[in-house]
Amino acid sequence: LIPEATADFAGEAEAAFRRAGERAGVHRMFCRLAGATIGFELAGPEVRAITRALQHLETDPAPVDLTVRVFDRTPLQRPPWAWTELRSRGEVPIADPAWCVSYLDDVLSLWRRGAPEALVWVRDVRELTVSQRGSPFLHLLHAWARARGWVLLHAAAVGGALIVGPGGSGKSSSAIAALRRGLPYLADDYCLARGDRLESLYCSAKLWSHDLTDRADFYDAEGKGLFWVEPARHARLRAVVVPERTGEARAALEPIAPARALRAVAPSTLFQLPWSGPEIVGVLGDLVRRVPCYRLRLGAREDVPALLRELA
C-alpha cells in the first residue's frame, strides 16, 4: 500500500471525526502514561465510556505529547486496502513502516509513528466487549509506548512480581486473588515495562463469570465480567512468575530458568500485537534475565497472595 493513500484516508477519517464532534460535542480527557501526557478528544458523551479503564491515569489539562481522537457510529470512506490484505492481529500492510494502522474487532487505529496525533474509530462503543472495555486502545498504546522506549506486555503485575503466560494460564485469577488481599495490584492482563520499571496501564480486572464471587461492573455475552479497580501506578520489577495449573492442594513457587519465562511471555505478547518485530524479543530477553524467575504452581487459591507477597 502506498503511504499517500493511507495519509489521504487518515485525512478523511479526521474530517469524519470533526463532523462527529460538531454533531455530538467533544469531551477532553488527559492521562499521564510512560512519562508523557496523552490528550483524548472524545466525540459524543457515549464515547467517554471507552476511556473508563484509563481513569486512574487521569491528570489535569496540560500540554500533550499525543492527541487521540476517538469517535463511533460515523461512516468512513472506503479504505485504500482490501479485507484480504489485512494480516492477522489486524495489521494493515503499508509500504511506509512508520504507519501503524490496524483494524480488529470493529476498532480502527491510525497513527504515524512520531506524529502528535492519532485517530481511533469504533463501530459502536456500546457494543464493546469486556476485553475491549477493559483494555482500550491496545494496538495504539503498544505502538506509541514502544516508540517511547517502553514495551507493552501481555502480563499481570502484583507489585514487582510480573505474572506471565498465555490466556487461561492463571494470570488474572492470581492477580485478582492478590488484589483481594490488599497487595499492590498493577494489572491483570497488560502492563508497560521499561528496564526494571513496571507501569499500570488499565484500572480494570476481568474474570470469567464462573470465577466471580463479586458482582462485576459489566458483563458481556461471552460470560466475562469486568471490574473497575484502583491499581498501584508503578512498581520496580523484582521477579517474573509463570503460573501453572496443577491439581495439587497447596500452591508453591520454584525457581526456573529465564528461558522458560521468556517462553511464557514472548509468544503470547508478540503473537497478539501488531508491529511486533524481533527487536521486542530481545527486550523481553533482557527483562527475564534481570530478575529471578519462578514457576507458580497453582494449588489452593488462598495460598497464592502470600506467595506473591514474598516477591512483590
Binding site: P75, W83, L86, S88, G90, A259, P267, S268, F271
Partner: protein, 129 residues
C-alpha cells in the same frame, strides 16, 4: 554450507543452556536445549554445517544432524552463499541432551482472521445506526 537466521520472520534469544526461537508469522515457537542450543548458535553465526556435525561427539552426531535438518525444513535457518567458518565454541560433552521442542499451542492467536469478525458487508455500513 552455511546458514543464517531467517529474519524478520523468526526471532531468537540465546540463554546459557537454551535458545528460544519465535516464528512471528506462523505463531510457532521452539526451544533448543543442550547440544541443540549450541548447534543453533553456531549455525546462526555462520558455521559450516558439515564441519559442525563432524565436531559432534559420535553419541549425538546423528541427532544433531536431524536438528539441523529441522531448523532448515521449518525455515528457521536459511542458506547463504558463504562456505561457512569453522566451529568457534567446542561441542558439548557426549552426555549432553539434544532437544528441540516445537510449540503450537498459541498458533490460534495469529490465525484469528479479523476479516471473519466483521460484517459480511465489509467496510462499516453507513446505514448501520
Amino acid at each position: 554450507m552455511a546458514y543464517r537466521l531467517n529474519t524478520p520472520r523468526f526471532a531468537a534469544e540465546s540463554f546459557d543452556h537454551e535458545v528460544v526461537v519465535l516464528d512471528l508469522e506462523g505463531g510457532l515457537y521452539y526451544s533448543l536445549e543442550g547440544a541443540a542450543a549450541w548447534l543453533y548458535r553456531e549455525l546462526a553465526a555462520g558455521t559450516a554445517l558439515d564441519g559442525l556435525i563432524a565436531a559432534c561427539p559420535p553419541a549425538y552426531a546423528r541427532q544433531a544432524a536431524a536438528v539441523a535438518q529441522q531448523l532448515v525444513s521449518e525455515s528457521i535457518l536459511t542458506a547463504t552463499n558463504d562456505e561457512g567458518r569453522a566451529p568457534v565454541e567446542p561441542a558439548p560433552e557426549a552426555t549432553a541432551p539434544v532437544r528441540m521442542t516445537r510449540y503450537d499451542d498459541l498458533q490460534l492467536l495469529l490465525q484469528l482472521d479479523p476479516v471473519h469478525d466483521v460484517d459480511a458487508t465489509g467496510w462499516p455500513n453507513p446505514g448501520r445506526p
